[in-house]
Symmetry: C2
Subunit: 97 residues, 2 copies
């Protein structure tokens, strides 16, 4: 299992239509083969600078690569991520034991 997460902030005002459009667009990613346990998250800790998060799981590295290279993912990056995201941090987790 690989859990891919990204914490991020947007360039848009909080509660704006642009914010909602961005977060709704992330739902396209759910349809990419191999994506499991997809979650849209609010980040609420004041100990970091991020407002939102996405989390998803893949069964293995191959499924993760399939996602990364899928046209739905690359289109999302081009159309929404690059223009909308102010700052982000990605993590990839596997179970330790």
């Amino acid at each position: 299992m690989i859990r891919h997460t990204v914490a991020f902030t947007l360039k848009y005002p909080k509660g704006s239509p642009e914010e909602k459009a961005f977060l709704d667009a992330t739902l396209h990613l759910v349809k990419i083969p191999g994506v499991q346990h997809f979650e849209r998250l609010r980040q609420t800790s004041k100990k970091n600078r991020f407002d939102f998060g996405l989390s998803m799981e893949f069964s293995d590295r191959e499924a993760y690569e399939t996602y990364n290279n899928h046209p739905t993912h690359t289109a999302f990056i081009q159309q929404y991520w690059i223009t909308g995201v102010e700052d982000f941090l990605e993590t990839d987790y596997e179970l330790y034991a």
Copy 2:
């Protein structure tokens, strides 16, 4: 649901007894009332500086506060976290929709 996560690096060499002792000590946290879905994680993305992660869930803010103030948690922070952790980032997530 609140998912509390922390990504971190240790001051100890990779694969060292000190590293294992630290990661084993995190298992004490599982016993604190209200802790759900506790996970020890390896962080494998090269896009950040962290080697490990912990993830746990609480049903609500009150359960999270109970954990934060529990003597098992504060003892772990004093005995292991402060001396062993080089760098870390905490996130608290709630479901967006």
